[in-house]
Every structure is written in structure tokens, then in C-alpha cells.
């Protein structure tokens, strides 16, 4: 019904080969862009930008970068944190050496420098594959972090080894430093996200992407049909590192403002970005966004739901709290009924009731302003829940959120007349 091709004719080749060939899809995309560009900047405050939007946008760029390398070209990399550090430190050196140049230029150059470093560390991929390549990129991770900790030139010989982003502006608007407006840093990141996503999407649809995917699916076969593995692999490393470098530069300059390499760009970061593309969906640009959103928003949401507490609740909240609590009770009972009386493997109904329970619980906690549980228990629960969800995703939907989205779209094409 919503996703229908009927009546949506392409009369030219460009029309036929556009990114979103279905009209509804295209308009939805324009709507998202419109909201992101014109609505959100007017409404955000410091909290929304610093706690949710900036990490989401910046991680999305990193995930796009890693997805090109791992999802499209099939080269496993555990060096993302190290490459982000290259982006951050080159941005810092450029910012302090050329204070009058626009931040746009610095961030782009940081991406270029990271691309060069990425190609250097991508060279072993010509000889080794799979786990062995993962170990080689792991070496890059540790080497780069060690380098930025060891060589004082990279942090301008500051006593502590920390790098701090001085105030820099773009078109007269502050982009870095403490006095930046929330909307400015948001817009700056957003521009890079749109730019990265459009480029990545078009690269992966074109000849480059096909070569990468050929290498991923079977490198020997790809070589036989005429794909140059040297060019394909190194270009994947270059493009991927370019995006990761940009995200590292933004992470340092716009988001955190002060960075210590071992703490911020450690092996942890490589894993988080890898989880993002696995949960989001390997080989999918949308998946990069979905994975980043999942891992950035979920912990914050859990914290707001469980750890926060609101001392003064209005009567309306109080009443709605009871409504949701009743809903939670009913869905629990229904779930139990399914579990006890059906005596089969978890049925669709049961899964549905479990989702209903979760939804009721979320609604309940958000209405009453959080459960007010001890912060340490919530922090442990966060780890448990995120970990469990990763496992559930790997078992139930190995292709990630992007695949769920695809299935949903397929269903919506026929809905409400599935036969």
C-alpha cells in the first residue's frame, strides 16, 4: 500500500537509477532531511546535542567508514579507534598550526591524512585475510595509540599529554570550544554526515562498490573477472579511513573538546563501531545509522528510564502511570497465558506480548520520570541489556536492523492485502 511501484514510472535513465526509486521512499527521505536540517536545529538544547545527536552523528560517520571496509569489501578491521585518533590528532595539529583556516578544511584534511595512514596499514591486506588481517589492524590500533602517547610533538608538548580544542569558527560561527551554540555544532556534524552518507551510498552503488563486493564475496573469482585486488582493497582502506578520520576529528574537536588518546580512542572504540555495523547491518548505509543510533540512544534511554528520579510528579502523570502499569500487568498475564497453555516453542503471539510488556514498561517509567534505582545497578543492567540484545540480534537477525527494515518495507508494499 505505502511502498507501491504502481503508477511510479521512470521515463529517463537518471530517474531509473536514483538512490530511492520508489516515490514514497524518496519523499520520506526528503522529509527526514528537512526535519534534520530545518526543524531539529531550532529545537535542540545542549543536552540533546551533547548526549544524543552529536555522538549519534559522529558514530554514524565512523560506522559508514567501517562498513565500507568490512561490510562492503569484507576486510575485517579492529583499528577503527586508532584511525579515529589519527583524525583527531591531525585535526588538532592543523587547528593549532593554522588558526585562521576554516574548520571545514581542517576536518577534511584530517580525513585525507587518515586515508593515507589507512592505506599504509591496509598494505598487509594484500597478503593476509580474515583473522590474520584482524590481528594486523589490531596492531595498527595499538601502535597508533602508543605513538600519540609517546611522541610529544603530536600534543604540542603539553604537560599532561591531553589535547584541547581551541575556539575555531566557520563563517563567523563558533564550532569548537565551550561557547559553541548547540545548533552550530549539530549543523556542522550534520553537514559531514550528509556528505559522507551521500558519497558512500553512491560509491557503493557504482563501479567501486561492485569491485569491493566482488572482492568480499570471493577474491579469486573477482581477480579472474578483472578486478584488481590491489586497487580494490587499498581504495576501500582509503575511503573507509577517510570517513573514520573525519569522525575522529569531529569526535575530538566538536564533541569532546579535550581528548586523551588511550582513554578515548582505545580498543574499546574499535569494538563499539564494529558492534554498530554488526547490529545495524553489514553492507548497508542505513544500517550504519541504525547501529549508531541503537548503541548511542539505548544506554541513554535506559539511564533515563531506570536511574533518574522525579520527585514531584503531577496528577496527570500519576494517572497515566497507573494506566501503563495496568497495561504492563495485562501484557504480562497474556504472555504468561501464552507460555503456560500453548506449550509450544515461543509463538509469534508470545513475542508480541513480550514487546507489549517492554513498551508498557518504557511508557510507565518515562511517565513517572524514571524508577530511581541505584546508579551502579542501572549501569550493570545497561551492560546486560545491550549485551543480550547483541546476542539476540546475532541469532534472530544476523543481517541486522537494516534487514528488519527491508522486511518491514517488503511487508508494507503489500499491506493490507498480503495475498
Amino acid at each position: 500500500m505505502f511502498y507501491r511501484e504502481a503508477g511510479d514510472f521512470s521515463t529517463t535513465y537518471p530517474q531509473d537509477s536514483q538512490t530511492f526509486p520508489i516515490k514514497f521512499d524518496r519523499y520520506r527521505y526528503y522529509l527526514v532531511l528537512f526535519i534534520a536540517i530545518a526543524v531539529i536545529p531550532l529545537m535542540v538544547n545542549d543536552y540533546w546535542v551533547s548526549a544524543i545527536f552529536m555522538p549519534f552523528l559522529i558514530y554514524a560517520i565512523a560506522a559508514i567508514g567501517l562498513n565500507i571496509l568490512t561490510g562492503y569489501c569484507g576486510q575485517v578491521s579492529l583499528g577503527t579507534g586508532g584511525f579515529m585518533a589519527v583524525g583527531a590528532y591531525s585535526c588538532y595539529k592543523l587547528m593549532t598550526a593554522f588558526p585562521d583556516v576554516s574548520m571545514f578544511v581542517h576536518v577534511m584534511l584530517a580525513g585525507v591524512i587518515t586515508a593515507i595512514v589507512g592505506v599504509l596499514f591496509g598494505l598487509p591486506s594484500l597478503r593476509i585475510k580474515g583473522f590474520y588481517l584482524a590481528v594486523a589492524t589490531l596492531a595498527a590500533q595499538f601502535f597508533l595509540v602508543w605513538l600519540f602517547n609517546r611522541v610529544a610533538w603530536f600534543y604540542n608538548y603539553s604537560a599532561s599529554g591531553q589535547i584541547n580544542a581551541p575556539e575555531r569558527e566557520v563563517f563567523g560561527v563558533l564550532i569548537t570550544g565551550p561557547n559553541t551554540d548547540a545548533w552550530a555544532s549539530y549543523m556542522f556534524c550534520l553537514v559531514f554526515v550528509i556528505f559522507s552518507a551521500v558519497i558512500a551510498r553512491n560509491l557503493t552503488r557504482g563501479a567501486f562498490g561492485r569491485k569491493w563486493m566482488a572482492i568480499r564475496d570471493m577474491d579469486i573469482a573477482a581477480e579472474i573477472i578483472g578486478v584488481n585486488p590491489l586497487m580494490a582493497k587499498l581504495s576501500a582502506f582509503a575511503v573507509s579511513s577517510f570517513f573514520i578520520g573525519i569522525s575522529g576529528a569531529l569526535f575530538f574537536a566538536v564533541y569532546l573538546g579535550a581528548v586523551e588518546v588511550g582513554e578515548v580512542f582505545g580498543i574499546q572504540k574499535s569494538f563499539i563501531v564494529l558492534f554498530m555495523i554488526i547490529i545495524g547491518g553489514l553492507g548497508s548505509i542505513f544500517g550504519s545509522f541504525a547501529g549508531a543510533a541503537f548503541l548511542v540512544v539505548l544506554p541513554v534511554l535506559l539511564k533515563i528510564m531506570l536511574a533518574d528520579a522525579d520527585a514531584d510528579i503531577s496528577n496527570t502523570q500519576y494517572a497515566f502511570g497507573y494506566v501503563f502499569l495496568a497495561a504492563l500487568l495485562i501484557s504480562t498475564l497474556m504472555m504468561l497465558r501464552e507460555a503456560i497453555f500453548r506449550r509450544t516453542a515461543p509463538s509469534n503471539n508470545m513475542v508480541g506480548w513480550i514487546f507489549a510488556m517492554i513498551a508498557a514498561f518504557v511508557a510507565y517509567t518515562l511517565t513517572i520520570g524514571g524508577m530511581g534505582w541505584p546508579t551502579d545497578i542501572v549501569a550493570h543492567l545497561q551492560l546486560v541489556i545491550v549485551g543480550a540484545l547483541i546476542i539476540i540480534f546475532l541469532i534472530a537477525e544476523p543481517h541486522g536492523i537494516a534487514q528488519l527494515w527491508r522486511v518491514a518495507k517488503e511487508k508494507l508494499r503489500l499491506w493490507p492485502f498480503p495475498h
Binding site: S50, A159, P178, Y255, L256, G257, A258, V264, G372
Partner: protein, 425 residues
Amino acid sequence: MKMKLGTMAVATMMAASPVMADLVFPSLSYRTGPYAAGGIPFADGYADYMNLLNARDGGIGGVMTKVLECETGYNTEKGVECYESTKGEGALVYQPLSTGITYQLIPKATADGIPIHSMGYGRTSAANGDVFSHVFNYPANYWNGASGAINYLMSQGDISGKKIALVYHNSAYGKEPIRTLEELSKKHGFELVLLPVDHPGQEQKSQWLQIRREKPDNVIMYGWGVMNQVAVQEAANIRYNMENFIGIWWSGSENDVLPAGDAANGYKALTFHGVGNDFPVFADIQKYVVDAGAAAGNGDQIGTVLYNRGLYAAMLAAEAAKTAQEIHGVADITPAMMRDGMEALEITEAKMAALGLPSFGPEFNVSCENHGGPGLVGMTQWDASAKTWSLINEFAPSDMDVIQPLIDEDSAAYAAENKIEASCK
């Protein structure tokens, strides 16, 4: 769920009566993650003292205190989230207990006009209040610590020509004392050996092998978390004389020495506050907080070194709030007033005794130019059989002739980089 319903009912009733705003003290704590062993006692001490003030004195100047706890896990990104989510709630002062998060918050909190108190950590040159208007690190900082250790060694005998090794956490925190120690080594003629340990510090075999080979006369350690216990254990393994092993105050808690057992006997650590639970305030905590069932965490940390530090931090914050109330003549203070209170803070022996903490810390006062206090540091020593720390050297001055130029230089560089003008007239 039942309990929550009860609180909901109470909350609805309370909503009818006028709500008095609280004095909000956010506690960016870490009860999870690699440094939780240090984060838990500090957070407990901080929360318990504020609870005690509410239960015993009815808050500060008649206004109740409220500790907003937010879990950072020692992670900078979570620290940002915690800062942004608590700053709108009227947060008076931030104490993140993490050098990384402190560096992060220095420009942000200054721009938002909220003071930071990084007690014995953070950016050392923030002691220069002329540049860092909203950052305080009284009563002592890393460089005072480094100098205090050297002063202590000099009081024990001549150190010229001796070899001193610095085992440090390879991060902003651990690198802080290097400059000071280098200056001091020039001044007093000892040789300095630098041994970095990478986060989290579980692997230190090579560093201690080097110590075994080079045989330094003394080892100074700037460690945190698991790194401390491993270092003490490794020192015991190579039979390094514990008498000659000195840790900074972040390497001197029960957690660090207990795993090594008797072998840790004689290990020394610097401090800027009293140790043990032999102070009258602990009777009050027992009566008003623990017996009332309101103890933070598991309530099993009371009297440990880091608990006392959290308590000391809370005490200084509360005293600064009192000072602010006196200066501005209002009970319900704002972060800007809190800043004034911190800047005018005066801690005297009489005040500490009245609070049930006689001789708990050095006497000091803060001024607009000097946010770092006098930098008096004491020395404690671990007794493995009694399982207690005891103060073996009273709070003594550190070498400000060496430290002050370094503070001026580093803060001037920061001021130039960020175009900050002197804020004190």
C-alpha cells in the same frame, strides 16, 4: 514496583505543598568499570556526609542538600552526558573524580558559570585562579604531591646522587608530576627514571624488571585503580623495600595494599587529609545515617581512606556553600554564589573541630589568585598486621619556589591558547 507505588502516592501528596528548592550537589561517580574500587568509597563518603547534614543540621543554612548521582564509569563520553543532564538541575559544584572528565569540563563549566572542585586531581595549573576562574583544586595538587614526596625523602637523608624512579599511569593524570620532578631533580641533584604503565595497568612485569635492574633508591608511584595493587604486588615479588616505595594519594587506599597481604607492610602514601575513623563525626554518621538505614552503597566503606576523601570533599563543598550563604545573605544559593563562596573559603582548626573533624586536614584559605590552597601534604604508612593506615608525617609545605613558576607557565599557555584575560583585579 510496590515501593515505587508508595513513593508515587507520597509524591502526589507532596506536590500539593510548596516545594523548597534543594542545594544540588551532583556526584559524577563511578561504581562500575575498571576504577570502581576507588569510585565507590569516594561516592559513599560524599553522599553520606550530605545525608548527615540533612539529618543532623537540617541541611546547610536551613536548605536541604541533594546529591544527584550519575554513573560515569570513568568514561569521558558518559561524563559529558552526566554533566549535561545534571547542570540544568541547579548543580552547584562538580567533582568528577577523573582527570579526563575534569579536563573536559574545565572550559564547559567555566562557560556555564558552574564551579569545579578537582580536589587533588585534574589540571594542576588550575591553581591559578586568575586564569581558571571557575576551577578549584585546593587543598593540594599533583605537583605539591611530587614535591611533598621529595621533601619527605630529604627529611630522611641526603638525596643528591640518588636514583628515584617514577612509576606512572600513562595518561594525563600520571604525566602531571613529570615536569615538577624534572625541575626538582635538577635542583637537588637526584636522577629520575620514568616508567610509564599503560591503562589499566594489569601488566607491569617489564617495569618492575627494570626497577630490579636499575635498583632505584626510591620509587614514587602515580597510579589509580588496579594498577596500584599490581604494582604493590610486583614490588613485593622483587622484594623491593616497601619503606622506599611512596604512592601519591590516589595510590594509598586499603584496596591497593590488602591484596599483597603482609608483603605490603611499610608501604607509604601521601595524603592531604586524615585517615582512620577516629574522629567524632563518625559517631554522628553512625547515628544519623547508618542507623537510619540511609548509608550510601553497601555501607561497608566507612572509615576507609577514599571514603574519608569523599567525606572531606563533601565537607569542603558544604563549608563553601555556607560561606556563600553568608556572603550573599541568601540561603538558596546559585552556582555563581557558590563560586564566590569557594573563593572566600577559609578552613581553620576551630571550624574543623566544630564539625567533628579535628586536625582532619590542613588549615588553609582560598583567594581569587590562588585556587590551590597552600599545598600542604602529609605522609601515611600502611601497617599490614593491624590493617590500618597511620599518619607518620604531619601536613608539611611543598616547594612552591619550583611549583609556582610551573603553574604560572602552564596557565599562561592555556590563557594564551584560549584568549583568557585575568579575572582577578
